[in-house]
Subunit: 441 residues, 2 copies
């Protein structure tokens, strides 16, 4: 199913898209050179927001989910990318241990695990799944909606290695964001590849650190294309762990919100965008879309501070989260719709390659709200069935290489380009936060 | 359009397929290790023949054509593979010069060139086309069926490099099989990558040399799977350049045909195959399916020797070819049909990856005849839309990993595996025939 895009096709994003399509060889070469210097994360996904006037990633997931929503056509692409990844990391690999999240009662997540298992099996690995709960000592058989089964086996840790009974993997792939802290079983492994590494987990990661890397990457990319980087990044401010019931804490968050909103207002004025800016407040160390709050005025926070703790930063938040550091991000409205539901594209990547994507849609949320919340639906995004380039002529150098865009521009190439910027930012971020990084001075 | 396969689904090939599907991780790992030792050709295609009782490549093209017959869904796969190839060979590449064949009046070939141009553009290169006729001094504009244009520009050779006006490529991709001898412009290039290298052209290549490499590769692969290599390779004999009007020459060819037919007969008996064996005689240095002859008895050659020269080895053959060395190959009948036409699958590859395939069908040819002849039609083969693996469970090690195959087995994975064997054989072949090879002794 190909979603019907009703994105507003006017304004800067259309110019940006044209420039992106025209600059395809330069963009791909730029990526090629960046990947010579930086290592892509093993896999990831990026949530994009297309506001018509700007297109930016708002979240980058280093433990991506939803691969079961990729169209079947995209599977060979994912397999090929996984082959490239494995070949670089551990060409002799035979066995791969996949450690999933704890959400093993979610049938959609199980389908995602099955899809990952298929991808790595077809890439040439014996794949088995480890149970993320180390207290489980017997294999757990889970039944999928189609009747197929997945077995989670108890993890077996030896002094230097982690495996399963009769299964010694060379590669351990985490699909568990370690939000509850890294499993002690994962520490101090020798001669085993842990992908992504421990410091990609939320005990170490900070959204603001990623945003900082993304800004750096977006500015480099914007320079290449000769455009305003704001068109592709959300401005942000960070706030340390504060209590907003405390006046000093409230002031800190309000100041950050004011700063972001003032900057956005200036940009909206510059581009003649007739909308009311908003900011999104998120726990800086959070995942899964918990505790995300949309504000249009810093004053809203004073009122919020009076509310009971569990109503303060969205659903699913407990009072402990109030002590989290925060990121205050420019809100990017999404003008994409799936039927009547507000939607945002999610770009899925393995190694340096875009392997597909899907739409996250939510019928009960506004275009200024977080869609990664209970009630959201995921629908395949048909990257591959769209013509990736407008019809072109190959001409002698004196004539323009690209013909004017046809009436149906291809949004998906641009989505892949911006999604990869988020991946590149994650690469910068992981290099900067690597506790074992070698320092060359 | 997905072709309807009416291949006989009984006998050894079904067992082979099951073993191939079950051994997927081991097969992919085997390829991964082979590619650590050997460099894949830049791109290639393999013509396969599926006899129901055996599946084997009968021709490997290092200057592949027909990429325009890949389904649009496969394009991202080709782009990703081209990115991987370029990244390894020349990551800083900006410009790519593509030198086509002389068949520039063939609109199907022009669509293929347009497709190659698209693939390499999307992989991040500025692509321009050089005219293969060095006597042409002005740009030649060619119009495609859809109205798009391709421009072939005159080649400009400097002392050390080859390029076009205002275009200095780092990479030169040949889509010209050099059957008329290598262009002098291609010799002695410095610091430019010529892909594939000159010795991949038909002035150097010999089908029998490839067949020898293929046999070596097939035996290794068959050992991995514990099966008879004959199921995946055609037996062959080579004959030096002889004149079959000369009794000694005729005897040489007849002996080779007898040898091949006797070997095939033994194999047919071993497997209880109730068919009459045949052999295919081809010029050992030929391309494009010229001069290919099917014989079921060496005696047929005595009669053939009496015919006028131009009727001897099929259409399009001139008497000069009679002085060519010959390869006498076991004939592999094809039992695939597209509607009423006899068909054979062609697997297309870039770098080490299968990027798609198509069927070559010929309504006027028999299942024991060469289909690469005027009148053949090419139809997309939907590799990607078939489920690449049967539905599986991931289970604990004590249970079987693979469930019994469903009633619709997927032929395409096996085609990709066998196609890649031909590619690997080409890699062995090019290493063995490389005039600049470093010898370690």
């Amino acid at each position: 199913m190909v979603p019907h895009l009703i994105t507003a096709l006017t304004g800067p994003i259309n110019e940006l898209e044209q420039r992106v399509l025209e600059s395809m060889p330069a963009i791909e070469r730029w990526y090629r050179l960046e990947w010579m210097e930086h290592t892509p994360p093993f896999y990831c996904s990026a949530d994009l927001r297309n506001a018509g006037f700007k297109l930016a990633p708002v979240d980058t997931n280093l433990f991506p989910v939803g691969f079961n929503n990729l169209t079947a056509d995209m599977l060979p692409l994912a397999v090929q990318a996984a082959m490239a990844a494995i070949e670089k990391i551990c060409p002799e690999a035979k066995n791969l241990l996949l450690i999933p999240e704890n959400r093993i009662n979610n049938s959609s997540y199980l389908l995602h695990l099955q899809c990952l298992t298929d991808i790595f099996t077809q890439a040439g690995l014996n794949v088995r799944l480890g149970h993320p709960d180390v207290s489980v000592t017997e294999p757990t058989v889970l039944t999928l909606p189609d009747g197929a089964e997945l077995t989670l086996e108890p993890l077996l840790r030896s002094k230097r290695r982690l495996g399963l009974k009769d299964f010694d993997p060379c590669t351990i792939v985490l699909n568990n964001d370690l939000a509850q802290g890294p499993l002690s079983e994962l520490q101090g492994l020798h001669e085993q590849y842990l992908l992504p590494p421990l410091h990609a987990g939320w005990t170490v990661r900070r959204k603001s650190r990623h945003a900082q890397s993304y800004e750096e990457v977006a500015k480099k990319f914007a320079k290449l294309l000769g455009m305003d980087p704001w068109l592709i990044y959300p401005m942000h401010e960070a706030c340390p762990a504060v209590d907003i019931r405390d006046p000093a804490g409230l002031d800190c968050v309000q100041t950050a919100v004011d700063t972001v909103l003032a900057k956005v207002r200036r940009k909206y004025k510059e581009y003649g965008i007739n909308e009311r800016p908003f900011a999104v407040i998120k726990p800086d160390d959070g995942s899964m879309g918990m505790g995300v709050l949309t504000v249009r005025d810093a004053k809203e926070l004073a009122e919020l501070a009076q509310r009971p703790a569990d109503a303060r930063l969205g659903a699913g938040n407990d009072s402990a989260d109030m002590a989290s550091p925060l990121i205050i991000q420019e809100g990017v409205p999404t003008y994409e719709r799936m039927n009547d539901a507000v939607a945002e594209p999610v770009v899925c990547m393995i190694d340096r390659y875009v392997v597909g994507g899907y739409y996250r849609a939510h019928a009960d949320r506004g275009n200024d709200e977080n869609l990664n919340a209970p009630g959201s639906a995921l629908l395949p995004l048909a990257f591959a069935t769209q013509s990736p380039t407008p019809k072109r002529s190959t001409r002698a150098v004196s004539k323009p290489l690209i013909k004017p865009l046809s009436s149906a521009p291809n949004r998906f190439y641009m989505y892949g380009v911006i999604g990869r910027l988020a991946m590149l930012a994650a690469s910068y971020e992981l290099e900067a936060t690597d506790p074992n990084a070698e320092v060359y001075e």
